[in-house]
C-alpha cells in the first residue's frame, strides 16, 4: 500500500479497510487477517495497525472476539451508516471547495451534472 507521508498512517489504514468493507471486498462477518499479517500486507508496523483496529473496534465497525480475532460487524446498519458518513465527507469537501469559488448551489449542481455528462461522452 502506498502511503501519503503527510497523513497519519493509522488513519490511512483505517480508510483503506473501511473502503474494503463498503465496496464489499470485506463482507459482513468476515474475519480480518491477523494484526501481523495486516501489517505485512500494507507495509506498516504492528503498533500502527493495532491503533487503526482499536479505533474501528471503538466505532463498532470491527468486532474483536477474544482468542478468535477481528471480524467485520454483522450489523449492516452500521456499515450503511459508515457509507453515508464517508459519502457525506467527500461531498462536503467538494461542495466547500466549489463554494469557495463563489459558485451558487444551483451552479454547483449544474457543474456536477455537466461533468457527469462530459465524462460519459469521453468513455
Amino acid at each position: 500500500m502506498h502511503f501519503d507521508d503527510k497523513i497519519p498512517i493509522y488513519y490511512q489504514i483505517k480508510a483503506h479497510i473501511y473502503h474494503e468493507i463498503i465496496t464489499g471486498t470485506l463482507q459482513p462477518g468476515e474475519k480480518l487477517p491477523s494484526v501481523r499479517q495486516l501489517a505485512l500486507d500494507v507495509t506498516a508496523n504492528v503498533n500502527t495497525v493495532q491503533r487503526a483496529l482499536s479505533e474501528m473496534i471503538a466505532a463498532g465497525i470491527i468486532d474483536s472476539k477474544r482468542g478468535k480475532g477481528n471480524f467485520v460487524t454483522m450489523d449492516e446498519t452500521k456499515i450503511t451508516d459508515l457509507k453515508t458518513q464517508l459519502i457525506t465527507e467527500q461531498v462536503a469537501r467538494a461542495y466547500q471547495q466549489l463554494h469557495a469559488l463563489n459558485l451558487s448551489d444551483e451552479e454547483i449542481l449544474n457543474s456536477l451534472k455537466h461533468y457527469m455528462t462530459q465524462r460519459g461522452n469521453a468513455e
Binding site: K6, Y11, L40, V46, R51
Partner: protein, 236 residues
C-alpha cells in the same frame, strides 16, 4: 526494573571534542524508532554507547540491565563482519553466530535466508553490497532479544532489497522488542516508524511519535526532518 531502553545524562567525548552531551531518552517496549541525523552527527556513537562498545558517562539501561556485560545479552547490533576473513563462507559466519550467541535461532535464520535469498555457500568477498546488508540484517534479527540496533541498513542498496529488508523487520521483530533504525534518509522507512529521534547539536534534538508529527504539523516526516536544518522553522 524499568522496561525498555533508558538513557540518562549520557555524555561522550573523543579527546577534547564533545560528540554527545546531555542525552536523555526513554523508549518503551515494542517500538520501531528512526534514529536520524546528518552524517557524523553521532548516530553510530549513540548505538555503540548503548551496546557498550563505546564508553561514556551517564546511565544506560535495557530492561533494567545497566552493567555493560549484562546489557550485551539484551541487544543485537548490526556488526559489519569486519572480523571475518574475506574467504569465509556465509554458512561459516552463521555457525559462528550460532556458537557465540545463546539466543541465536537457527530456524529463524533459515526462514529469513530463504526469504532474502541468501546463498550460504558464497564467500564474504563475493557478496554484493545489497547481499551483504541482507546477511547482516538476517544475522542481527536471528537473535531473540529485547533491543535491535540497525545502523544504516539501507545505505547503497537497491529498492527491491530494501523492500525485502523492511518486510523482514515487520515479519520477524518480536512484539515487545525495540528496534532502532538509523538513517540519514527518512522517506524509505517513514511509514514503519512509531517514533523518530533526531541527533543534532551533539544531543537528542527531537523525540516524537511520527503520527503526532503528521497530525500536529500537517507535514510528512521527511519535510519535518529537513525543516529542522533550515532557518526559521516554527515547530516548537
Amino acid at each position: 526494573m524499568t522496561a525498555g531502553l533508558t538513557l540518562q545524562g549520557v555524555q561522550y567525548r573523543h579527546g577534547m571534542k564533545t560528540i554527545l552531551h546531555d542525552v536523555d531518552l526513554t523508549i518503551t517496549p515494542g517500538k520501531i524508532i528512526g534514529l536520524l541525523g546528518e552524517n557524523g552527527a553521532g548516530k553510530t556513537t549513540l548505538m555503540r554507547l548503548i551496546t557498550g562498545s563505546a564508553k561514556g558517562k551517564g546511565t544506560i539501561a535495557i530492561n533494567g540491565a545497566t552493567i555493560v556485560g549484562d546489557r550485551k545479552q539484551h541487544v543485537s547490533f548490526t556488526e559489519q563482519l569486519r572480523g571475518f576473513a574475506r574467504e569465509t563462507r556465509v554458512d561459516q559466519v552463521v555457525n559462528f553466530y550460532h556458537d557465540v550467541y545463546g539466543d541465536f535461532d537457527l530456524q529463524r535464520y533459515q526462514d529469513m535466508a530463504t526469504f532474502l535469498q541468501i546463498d550460504g555457500s558464497l564467500k564474504l568477498t563475493s557478496l554484493s553490497k545489497g547481499m551483504k546488508e541482507k546477511l547482516i540484517i538476517a544475522l542481527t534479527l536471528s537473535r531473540r532479544t529485547d533491543l535491535y540496533l540497525l545502523d544504516e541498513p539501507f545505505s547503497g542498496i537497491d529498492s527491491m532489497s530494501r523492500k525485502r529488508i523492511i518486510n523482514s523487520i515487520l515479519q520477524w521483530k518480536p512484539d515487545d522488542a525495540i528496534m532502532v533504525i538509523s538513517d540519514h534518509y527518512v522517506s524509505e522507512v517513514a511509514a514503519i516508524l512509531d517514533e523518530i529521534v533526531i541527533v543534532k547539536d551533539q544531543t537528542i534534538f527531537t523525540h516524537e511519535a511520527t503520527d503526532t508529527i503528521r497530525e500536529k504539523y500537517d507535514v510528512g516526516i521527511e519535510a519535518y526532518y529537513e525543516s529542522l536544518y533550515e532557518k526559521g522553522n516554527d515547530y516548537d
